[in-house]
Amino acid sequence: MSFDRPKELLKPVKRRFIFMTLLLAVLVEMIPLPHGSTRWLPDFISLVLLYWLINQPRRVNVGVAFLMGLVADIATAGMLGQHALAYSATAYLALSRQRQLVMFNLGQQALAVLGLMLCNQSIMVVARMLNGSAFVGWSYFLPPLIGALLWPLLTKLLLLPYRHHSV
């Protein structure tokens, strides 16, 4: 099945590449999009972050997630620390089950990612509501679903440069 993880040896991942993909995710986050698209667009920073957490746990850890959260906070003009808290908690959850996650095939991984991203959104909702914001409606939990659907595609894309026989 093509959705299975490739059982092949990959080239070692460069630190530079991890940095580049995270930067790209931040850039995508900052594209001025028409209003309304933010209702369903997934959080790309957390998607890419989760990918590296699951596949390169020794390079990307809770601290990196925290830093990326800070960047996301500034980029989205939200409350400082909201994304940081959510990302570091999610990163911890992912890392604690990383050895299982990495063995899953892409479908199972997507399910796990869905759970993790829902957890992400819940933490942010709770943080905002404790601070006096109104509840924004259940559509706030739509982006994780779409993010999970994009997971196989993202994995294939990020693996491309590390295949030995890139056709």
């Binding site: 989205t76 003009a77 939200g78 409350m79 400082l80 940081a84 808290l85 908690a89």
Partner: protein
């Protein structure tokens, strides 16, 4: 567990749990410090300065696409638009001439009565850089900031009416809280009757609260700023009443309004000067009011 002879392969610094504890503590400290005490403004300024080139870079292709599509406009469109603008300009210049006479008269009267002319009409044009992605707050980021001497608290309008208020100024950009943001309140009056009220944003829209049941409000009434807070100039259109519900059981009538300005789709905005020169409140101990929180002194009424 780390031992002295653990191979380096197994050594990976502190455990994830410890890291989580540290990071969670740090982010909670940030959350509290930022939202309750506004401690992180400096750090935010610095970070935004670092992110500014990225924003510009991301905006560049989009701007180019817009430029190209502007270039290939159909001539008929241009012509009709030109005609429209010309008519509008004619109307406006007629109105302006009348206004100028009135203004001169007003200034004469003011000088007769020894009142300082307080209107300051300087305005700055700014372009929307991007809208904040945070679904909890309704903010836009504009491309002028401390470099253009903007200050928190200045009102922002577009061609149709009041858009919001600058709530945070960064070196090159500024954040505008739209009137539909949850914490925004605008002192307004019904243009037809002059009845004063406060327009509350509730996150996604605006409504007038606390008007008694017998208040004279009808559908399609214009709502304009009343100018009694010393911040917004009086008479700027803000919203239009779309529905009035009078429920005998409730103490107040429920008035739904629609903002006039294109709060979510404008590209160019105009930053006005604060009205300023309000005489200080008598009596009452002076409590410094934070403008950055989007709260105006008028909400204590």
């Amino acid at each position: 567990m780390d031992f002295a002879n653990t191979p380096s392969f197994f050594r990976s610094g502190p455990k994830p749990g410890t890291r989580l504890l540290l990071c969670a503590l740090a982010s909670i400290a940030l959350l509290v410090g930022d939202s309750r005490y506004g401690l992180m403004e400096q750090a935010r300024d610095g970070m935004s300065l670092v992110l500014y080139p990225l924003q510009r870079a991301v905006n560049l292709p989009l701007g180019m696409v817009r430029h190209v599509s502007d270039y290939f406009t159909v001539q008929a469109d241009l012509k009709s638009e030109n005609d429209q603008l010309r008519t509008r300009q004619l109307e406006m210049s007629a109105r302006l001439a009348r206004l100028e006479t009135l203004e001169r008269e007003l200034n004469e009267l003011r000088s007769l009565n020894a009142i300082k002319a307080s209107r300051n009409d300087a305005a700055q044009l700014a372009e929307t850089l991007y809208t904040g992605r945070d679904p909890f707050s309704y903010k836009i980021i504009i491309d002028k900031g401390a470099d253009a001497h903007l200050q928190p608290g200045q009102p922002v309008v577009d061609g149709h009416g009041l858009l919001g208020q600058i709530t945070r100024v960064q070196p090159l950009t500024a954040e505008v809280s739209l009137i539909i943001d949850k914490n925004q309140m605008v002192p307004v009056m019904i243009a037809r009757t002059g009845e004063r009220a406060i327009l509350y944003g509730y996150g996604g829209g605006v409504e007038i609260r606390y008007l008694p049941l017998h208040a004279d409000v009808r559908e399609n009434d214009m709502v304009v700023t009343s100018g009694i807070d010393g911040l917004y100039q009086e008479g700027t259109p803000v919203a239009r009443v779309s529905k009035v519900e009078r429920n005998a059981g409730a103490a107040f009538s429920r008035i739904t309004t629609e903002p006039l300005a294109g709060v979510q789709q404008t590209r160019f905005v105009l930053v006005l000067q604060e009205k300023g020169q309000t005489p200080p409140r008598p009596a009452e101990p002076v409590v410094p009011v934070k403008k950055t929180k989007g709260k105006k002194p008028a909400d204590s009424e």
